[in-house]
């Protein structure tokens, strides 16, 4: 089994490298960079929702927190390495505290959604109204609705004058996404990840097996926030400005739509959903005939109605049905199982 996994991983790396190399021929790297960043953001929610069963309406909060942490730290430090690290750890810590409060308080499903939604709103309102000169962290003014411009952007570690921007930033972001993808893959194959999936399936059973569900959900939630934070920091470097809009509800809703359209419970789905829909939005933004959000809404409705599992699972099952001997054996096994079922039931 481990050998086939290895082969699959190698194929993923090769495919990713080819894509990273070929995509700039089709789309400008400036646009690609943000698509990759959105892919990472969607993957963060795909991890905690699709595999951990935690529906977070406030993933944008961690994204924005990562971006703001980076901007504020970069102004104070004057280089990018430490701010990048902080941009991962601050949202993770924030999520750990918030998560502990929710999961140890036994909040579930809807209430969890409400709390995360409200936290995002609070952050949005707070940052939006921090224009006054009294809102200063070190040398960085929060700037209210104007956001924070003019911070030190990504540089080669140890060399603050060697900026990474343009094409180079695209490659850094793409490799970072690949690294995060494999981190998530590794996590899901580890005992922790497998048990997290168990929690998604049946929380009571997992706790009756002797696992502390609350602690495990809190940790997973924090990991998701760390990834969102990294995406936020990269976004700050791409946009070279951070604004309260990062915390907006629209942003949060969009992440959820990306995951649903791409396919929950897969690693690739959220990335594809995010990149695809964000690119579509970019194309639609070039015309003024139809409102953008209207089309996004229609897409979501159509997917929920006709392709509720999302693109990736649908394509995967189509692929299995049409190609490969392996799938043949599998379906034979399934037929056998069904026979066992009917014999017993």
């Amino acid at each position: 089994m481990s050998r086939s996994w290895g082969r699959q991983d190698a194929a993923t790396i090769v495919a990713a490298i080819v894509l990273i190399w070929l995509m700039p021929l089709l789309i400008s790297t400036y646009t690609l960079t943000v698509l990759v960043i959105y892919g990472m953001l969607a993957l963060s929610l795909g991890l905690i929702w699709g595999f951990g069963g935690i529906l977070c309406f406030g993933q944008a909060a961690f994204f924005g927190l990562g971006a703001y942490t980076y901007a504020i730290a970069a102004i104070n430090v004057g280089e990018s390495t430490l701010p990048m690290i902080l941009a991962v750890f601050v949202p993770a810590l924030f999520a750990a505290l918030l998560g502990a409060m929710m999961f140890y308080g036994r909040l579930t499903d809807v209430y969890l959604g409400v709390i995360t939604l409200v936290v995002t709103l609070i952050l949005f309102k707070f940052v939006n109204s921090s224009a006054g000169p009294q809102y200063v962290i070190g040398e960085a003014r929060l700037g209210g609705f104007n956001g924070i411009p003019g911070f030190h952007t990504l540089n080669i570690p140890g060399q603050p004058d060697e900026y990474i921007w343009g094409d180079a930033l695209y490659y850094v972001c793409a490799v970072a996404l690949l690294a995060v993808y494999f981190l998530v893959t590794w996590l899901l194959r580890s005992s922790f990840g497998r048990i997290a999936i168990g929690i998604r399936e049946n929380e009571t059973r997992v706790s009756l097996m002797g696992y502390d569900v609350r602690a495990r959900k809190t940790i997973l939630f924090a990991i998701g926030a760390a990834i969102a934070g990294l995406a936020g920091a990269l976004f700050a470097n791409w946009g070279e400005i951070v604004t309260p809009g990062l915390f907006s509800l629209g942003q949060s809703a969009e992440i959820i739509i990306w995951c649903i359209v791409g396919g929950l419970g897969t690693r690739l789905g959220p990335i594809i959903g995010a990149a695809g829909l964000a690119y579509l939005k970019f194309l639609l933004g070039q015309q003024s005939l139809i409102d953008n959000t209207l089309i996004m809404g229609i897409i979501l409705v159509l997917f929920v109605l006709f392709l509720p599992k999302g693109i990736v699972p649908a394509v995967a099952s189509l692929w299995k049905a049409s190609f490969g001997r392996r799938s043949g054996r599998k379906s034979a096994g399934r037929r056998h199982m069904r026979r066992v079922d009917s014999a017993n039931g």
Binding site: I195, I197, G198, E201, N202, R205, M209, Y211, D341, N344
Partner: protein, 238 residues
Amino acid sequence: MAETVLETTGLTMRFGGVVATDNVNFSLKARELRCLIGPNGAGKSTFFKCITGLLTPSEGQVFMRNQETTGWHPHEVASLGVGIKTQVPNVMDGLTVVENIWMAARRFMPSKEASDKAQDVIERLALGSIAKAELGRLAHGERQRVELGLVVAADPWLVLLDEPAAGMTAGDVDRMSAIIDEMTRTAAVVIVEHDMQFIRSIASTVTVFHQGAILMEDHVDKVMSDPIVRNVYLGKKA
């Protein structure tokens, strides 16, 4: 005599004005098999939930191997080495049988050994033909059997089963009796059960609950022939 592995003193659970279990003193020795019976609403399931930590009792204490576990969370109780099966099958529907059992074993051993343990349990419970199937696709009896597998995989010294034979066919029940019989070699077992046929087949000491309290405690044959018990519970003869 064998040590006491489970003991409750003055265990009381109130829901508003209703006293579901009333001052229950219960004790169980190592490797003992005990069935809890009683009419609907007698307090068996509430008693069960108080022991497993699914409910926190209003009054009284629970001791496991002389350690007080009153008010513990279910995962803390389970961590002691207590295997629990709830009334409604609690399994992970989206995962395979192997993955389900691996997860139960993984709590007490490293991943690799847990895989071996899962294979071992699958052989012992004759789950081989459905090992790679998703739980959601299985029949009720099979799901119940897999859930027993989850309990067995953790090598518990105390097993608590809430209606393990509910909704099962005769063949499934026989298999279930055999598994429970095997369990009692290493663990004390408490079974909450309605099915008198099933209780007779595993022939054990029975504790009868009535209106939240223990009515009597004796061997199944004596209990069955007791006039008071017959009155409250077996009036129509099972």
